[in-house]
């Protein structure tokens, strides 16, 4: 049974330029991936929709380890891997003012068709740990 994602934003989600550029800027401007990411960011930053947050896996079956991370599937509000093929991953952090936020760390495909393409979870793992999972 699909878990019911929590609809209330618990803490603010934040996007910084470096992560955004590396994760989203690598896609062509009119690609479905980039369009989905930019639209979702606007929706998150304006709080226009309930955000169906899910917790990431501390020890995923794919070898990834994403402790203290949460994710959103895109397009927001869509369900199922085919309708929502992309994901955002955020890490729970304290900023310089000791305020808790969810910091954006990775964007990509959840289940890439191309076997050479890294999943959003593998990209998040590499950003956290400095290397891809074994």
């Amino acid at each position: 049974m699909r878990p019911r994602a929590r609809k209330q934003p618990l803490v603010a989600a934040r996007f910084h330029g470096e992560e955004w550029s590396e994760e989203v800027g690598r896609f062509d401007r009119n690609s479905p991936a980039r369009v989905a990411a930019e639209r979702a960011r606007r929706e998150i930053e304006t709080g226009g929709v309930g955000l169906p947050w899910l917790a990431c896996e501390v020890a995923g079956s794919d070898g990834t380890s994403l402790p203290n991370c949460a994710k959103l599937y895109l397009p927001l509000g869509e369900k199922g891997a085919s309708a929502a093929p992309f994901g955002f991953v955020f890490q729970f952090v304290k900023d310089s003012d000791h305020v808790y936020t969810l910091n954006f760390i990775a964007f990509g495909e959840r289940h890439p068709r191309n076997p050479a393409t890294r999943t959003v979870y593998e990209r998040a793992h590499k950003r956290l740990h400095g290397r891809y999972p074994e």
Binding site: E18, E19, G60, Q91, V93, L128
Partner: protein, 73 residues
């Protein structure tokens, strides 16, 4: 005329620059050799510049511990 092959002695984690753009040497996803891709800056480097730090597991559990999981990643 055959194209000359430029042999490079590269290892995982090294950065190369091609026409002004940097790439990182990483293992190919299928495990067969190496490939290059735009680098993913470690989050620790970015946080250090911004005065940010990862929250503790206790804080995550206390504030976001009720989030469901779906086993995907």
């Amino acid at each position: 005329m055959a194209t000359a092959v430029k042999k490079l002695d590269l290892h995982v984690g090294e950065l190369v620059e091609i026409e002004g753009r940097r790439y990182e040497v990483v293992p190919a996803r299928d495990g067969d050799g190496l490939t290059i891709e735009p680098p993913i800056t470690p989050i620790s480097e970015l946080y250090a510049k911004r005065g940010m730090s990862p929250a503790s597991a206790e804080d995550f559990k206390g504030i976001l511990g009720g989030l469901p999981t779906d086993g995907e990643g």
